[in-house]
């Protein structure tokens, strides 16, 4: 049976690779869907924007993949922010090495990619978090890059779109990570006062200090279908209240039904929807 062949293959893929997050696509012809666990031909799921053709599960994207499917081709100009480097405020053992290791495996400097680009012809400042880099956690570098991007948007009267994907504040930088929440929120307050559009696009997963700051501050909050969105982690809540949580708890759909998300959007419709929102806002600037 063909099914049996798939099952055999599964053994090979199931080998854990601890250096990369489990959603990172293994370099093989087949991919196991995180949602329905079926084996999917790699090319087929790639052509389908990393959405499972069987169950429509939206696999996590890297920042580069997100930019490729959302931003008009050839328009993305990345901010360098080369002077923004991690100071390791706690001198936390092994942290600098860990950063280097993630840099090597992901090709990223930290867990966010920022720049300007056009979406459906509208220019915007765009920040995309990448959960492959230390779970997208937010320390000084992420906080400073996003803050500068917001300030750039304010100074240049541009809308800002932030794609969130983060486990929250980065523990290894301690209280300095916590301060990033206030810093970014402050920059967004100034952008807000300038009458400019801030669109949040929440992608899987968005939790902790990112949920409790800029993820929830958009004029319009869009969430990608199926994304995990929450403040506290499921395990922490279950330990606190000593009961099991329902399966869809903290999903994008759950958050929408409780009034915290404007729009739940499928990946293939996302670019067009963002484009329409930017059009309605006159490209983002309120005249």
């Amino acid at each position: 049976m063909i099914k049996d062949i798939f099952n055999k293959k599964k053994q090979v893929w199931a080998q854990p690779n601890k250096s990369i997050v489990n959603t990172k696509v293994p370099d093989s012809m087949w991919i196991k869907c995180t949602g329905c666990k079926k084996a999917v031909y790699r090319k087929k799921i790639e052509d389908n924007l990393m959405v499972c053709p069987h169950c429509s599960y939206h696999m996590r994207l890297s920042a580069a993949e997100r930019i490729r499917i959302i931003v008009d081709a050839g328009t993305f100009e990345r901010f360098d922010f080369e002077d923004v480097v991690c100071s390791d405020p706690l001198n936390f053992p092994g942290y600098k090495e860990k950063l280097e290791q993630y840099s090597n495996t992901t090709g990223l400097r930290d867990a966010v990619v920022c720049g300007t680009g056009k979406i459906c012809g509208h220019k915007a400042v765009i920040c995309v978090m990448d959960s492959n880099f230390l779970m997208g956690s937010m320390g000084y570098v992420v906080g400073e890059c996003i803050t500068r991007s917001v300030e750039y948007a304010t100074e240049n009267s541009l809308p800002i779109i932030i794609f969130t994907a983060s486990g929250g504040a980065r523990m290894q930088e301690g209280i300095i990570s916590l301060m990033q929440m206030a810093k970014i929120s402050g920059a967004l307050a100034k952008h807000n006062e300038s009458g400019l559009l801030y669109l949040t696009v929440i992608t899987d997963p968005t939790t902790g200090g990112v949920t409790a700051s800029f993820a929830m501050l958009g004029d319009i909050i869009m969430a990608e279908r199926g994304a995990l969105i929450g403040f506290a982690g499921k395990r922490v809540i279950e330990q606190t209240i000593k009961q099991k949580l329902p399966p869809n708890f903290q999903s994008a759909e759950f958050m929408a039904s409780h009034g915290f998300v404007d729009l739940v959007c499928e990946r293939d419709k996302m670019k067009n929807l963002i484009g329409r929102i930017l059009t309605i806002h006159g490209g983002g600037k309120h005249e």
Partner: protein, 264 residues
Amino acid sequence: MNNKSLSAWDRVMLARSIERPTSIFYITNVFDDFIELHGDRCFGDDASIIGGIGLLNGKPVTVIAEEKGRTVEEKTKRNFGSPHPEGYRKALRLMKQAEKFRRPIICFVDTQGAFCGMGAEERGQGEAIARNLREMMDLTVPVIAIIIGEGGSGGALAIAVANKVLMLENAVYSILSPEGFSAILWKDSSRAQEAAEVMKMTAEDLLKLNVIEEIISEPAGGAHLDKEAIAEAVKNCILSSLAQYEGKSPEEIAEERYQRFRKF
């Protein structure tokens, strides 16, 4: 016992001590008058945050305070000082009210963190904290926050976006509890003591990192051993902090707060 020789973990234990004065003590002993106001006007009234209006040396102020409670009964009522979203929303409502009437805002921080439960998530714990961070940044009246016991993560920051953050000598302020920190980073919550030492969560560490402006000295052995002295010290520190804002314009006050956090 000299406070200087205490380890970070000793201070965590002191900050959590059942003997330690909580917000209610300071509200009663620092202000000339205090009227508690209730409710977030959306869902309910969260007893883990006390909010209200009062007089400080005859001048009107708004007070926001996280309260853990001292007795079992009171701790249950106050959810051990871990607020739900409605607590943060009540706080923001009263802070906006303070701005309308040009009253300075005094915040007492003492929480292990915002509550992690189903209702808290359903009612938008993340949204409530996020909104406070943004809206507090814009307030045009002085905000003074005093960390009196535990400053636990976003649950503390949500009422600590202040112009000046003061901290009692044996209070702690951190991204997460030392237990949570060691569980996440070392997969071992029993290494909490070790975590406390590396987290830079004591007042002295945080002063060096410019996370706080001033340390309020405690009597030897902790605030609970001379309550009269600590109440007076806290009052004096609030008064001297507020004095710096006399004659400042609303815009200057908000901008100073913005720059305070921008530097991180």
